[in-house]
């Protein structure tokens, strides 16, 4: 009988001990893989947000709290719409685009959706043009507006997805988010009814992976009329030309609108980064606790196993097995349990992250293959370390003493 056959036979004969050890390792690895997967994807989402929105500033009502940039308008508090015009007229340095938003609940085909009112940039361009005369007096110091020479040829739905603005919009048209379009079976050119009013779908917004996928965008003034909300907005999104300019804007906006709250994307992201850091530390803490439990469990099981198998060990040694062969038998068993636990832990952790990620962190999580190697290797090493002393003890057993006990 080869050592490998002996190990498999031993595993089959002691299923309870094997399952206990396997469970301890699997749980530890599951926690580590699940939390790390969510954290990794959350970090990617944060990095993407910074890339796309690094220079954006939000003007919010004082009462509004903000956890997610893309849901900045998901609160009941409002600001006067005239703040947006005031901003356009102020011609502040570094302001590229101004996008006021008002969100209200609505129904489309029996499904609840968020109807978001936005103003097209054309509403502000004329006001920005009124400041043309400043070209004579304002010397080049800070960020200037880009020359409006070429009309953006991109479809408005793409402008909404990537730039978070539309250039032109009629009061009877809407742009539909990817998820809403899919669930309601709506395509560009369709006619839909929202709160009793007919609208033409001018475009379906490409999927963004954000709350915008579940929205329908209409003209702000139409939404205000439908919701009977007066000339108010939930948020004014200011697209600044660069992060440095965005930082400078905060002070000016604070002075201009003392009754509003000014938040930069960096501040929003800082909160998310802090949550990610906490989750990472938490994953290591979980893994540490479960590591101690797992090591104790494996070591205890292995010590018990060695004690139970004293006679068989003595017999093997009497038949010519060397101490290293005996050690290898126990370490091999531990390694198999460790590798299996690592693999199972990776699979269950990944399933947990993929299933719960959207609820935990509001992001889509996919399997992280690099974590599989880490999980299996780590679990194998832990199992070997935990079994080292029991294996050493088995190797030092004196066969004569064993036979005397018989």
């Amino acid at each position: 009988m080869t050592p490998n056959k002996l190990i498999w036979k031993e595993l089959r004969q002691r299923p309870t001990a094997m399952v206990t050890c396997l469970l301890a390792i699997t749980l530890g690895v599951t926690a580590l893989v699940a939390i790390r997967s969510v954290t990794l994807y959350s970090e990617c989402a944060v990095a993407e947000q910074m890339e796309a929105l690094g220079a954006n500033v939000l003007l919010l009502p004082q009462a509004a709290s903000l956890h997610d940039y893309y849901s900045a308008d998901a609160h009941g508090a409002t600001l006067p719409e005239e703040y947006a015009t005031q901003l356009a007229l102020a011609n502040l340095e570094g302001v590229q685009k101004i996008s006021p938003k008002l969100s209200v609940p609505a129904e489309l085909g029996g499904r609840r959706i968020t109807l978001t009112g936005i103003l097209p940039q054309s509403e502000f361009e004329a006001k920005a043009g009124w400041q043309s005369v400043q070209v004579f007096s304002k010397k080049h110091a800070g960020c200037k507006k880009q020359p409006a020479m070429n009309a953006d040829a991109r479809p408005e739905s793409e402008n909404l997805a990537t730039g978070r603005f539309v250039r032109e919009m009629r009061e009877t048209e809407v742009y539909v988010g990817a998820d809403v379009a899919k669930s309601a079976g709506v395509t560009s050119g369709d006619c839909i009814t929202l709160s009793g009013l007919p609208f033409v779908v001018s475009g379906v917004i490409p999927a963004t992976g954000t709350a915008d996928d579940g929205r329908v965008f209409a003209h702000l003034h139409t939404v205000q009329r439908l919701a009977d909300r007066g000339e108010t907005v939930n948020v004014i999104e200011i697209i600044a030309c660069c992060e440095d300019a965005a930082g400078g804007l905060v002070v000016q906006l604070g002075d201009m609108f003392p009754d509003a709250k000014v938040v930069t994307i960096t501040q929003v992201v800082d909160t998310q980064v802090a949550v990610n850091r906490l989750m990472t530390r938490l994953s290591y803490l979980f893994f540490g606790i479960l590591l101690v439990v797992g090591v104790s469990s494996i070591a205890g099981t292995m010590f018990a196993n060695v004690t139970e198998r004293r006679r068989e060990i003595g017999t093997l040694m009497a038949l010519g097995a060397t101490p290293s062969v005996i050690s290898r038998l126990f370490l091999g068993k531990a390694l198999i349990i460790g590798l299996a636990g690592g693999l199972l832990g990776y699979l269950s952790g990944t399933l947990l992250a993929v299933g719960a990620g959207p609820y935990w962190a509001g992001i889509a999580v996919r399997p992280v293959l690099s974590l599989a190697a880490v999980a299996v290797a780590l679990a194998g090493v832990v199992a070997l370390v935990a079994s080292y002393l029991p294996a050493r003890r088995a190797a030092l057993i004196d066969p004569c003493l064993c036979f005397r006990e018989v």
Binding site: W130, Q146, P147
Partner: protein
């Protein structure tokens, strides 16, 4: 009968003229050749201040009185009209300027060519009102920029100087021809001394034609010598306003 404030004069024909003038100017946008405006010997423009208001409160009262006083000092060049934005009779002018949801009171200064040369959301001071009364060239440039046109200001040493070859080529380019306006300014024109001073162009330093190019909504693309080629102008135009990438921008990290 609703009480009227002393400054709240009724709409005059001038507002109708302003609206018509403004709308009429947009017809230029469809022309295929660059328009050339020579500023030399042109009369100083007249200005109309339009005060838009919604409520007859103390703030509006103070705003109106300050503006009225500043305009009265310049009555030979400017007049004041007030517009109650809630009055349906004023709908056309309110819609034309798109101010029905703007913070009130609001005043705009409009030159006789339809260019908005000043906007006041806070109580206007004397200096700000004076700055809104721009020269003929400035009014033409402002109007062109507000019509979304690229402006080539040809600063020439004499009235007979011809447009430099680079500018001729640029304005002949199909990509820019229809949306470019050329404005001629003679360096010695005393009426344009403010414009030249603002552009930091000293008459003593200009011996040959010079170009100042501006793009909408209000970007100074650059000042060019008469020998500048079309390629250089186009390159500068495309580089303009790229914010922090511009070496003149204080936020440009590389430039520091």
């Amino acid at each position: 009968m609703r009480p009227r404030m002393p400054w709240a004069v009724s709409l005059t024909l001038s507002v109708g003229v302003l609206v018509t003038t403004g709308l009429g100017q947009t017809a230029f946008q469809n022309s295929s050749a660059p328009t050339v405006t020579s500023i030399a010997h042109k009369q100083a423009p007249q200005f109309s201040f339009i005060l838009f208001w919604k409520q007859q409160d103390a703030h509006t009262q103070q705003f109106a009185e300050t503006l009225q006083s500043a305009v009265a000092k310049r009555s030979e060049r400017a007049n004041l009209t007030s517009v109650d934005i809630k009055d349906q009779a004023n709908r056309a002018v309110v819609d034309h300027y798109g101010v029905n949801r703007a913070p009130m009171p609001l005043a705009v200064c409009v030159a006789d060519n339809g260019a908005v040369t000043g906007v006041f959301t806070r109580r206007p001071n004397d200096e700000a009102v004076e700055r809104a009364l721009v020269t003929s060239a400035m009014a033409e440039v402002t109007k062109a920029l507000q019509d979304k046109k690229i402006v080539v200001v040809h600063v020439k040493p004499t009235a007979k100087s011809s447009l430099p070859a680079g500018a001729v080529e640029f304005t002949a380019d199909p990509a820019f021809r229809a949306r470019t306006k050329i404005i001629d300014v003679v360096i010695s024109d005393p009426n344009e001394s403010r414009f030249l001073a603002d552009m930091e162009i000293s008459p003593r330093d200009v011996n040959e034609s010079m170009l100042v190019i501006m793009a909408p909504p209000g970007v100074l693309v650059g000042k060019f010598s008469g020998s500048t080629t079309k390629v250089q102008i186009v390159a500068q135009l495309h580089a303009a306003g790229k914010c922090c990438n511009d070496e003149n921008c204080k936020h440009n990290q590389k430039a520091q």
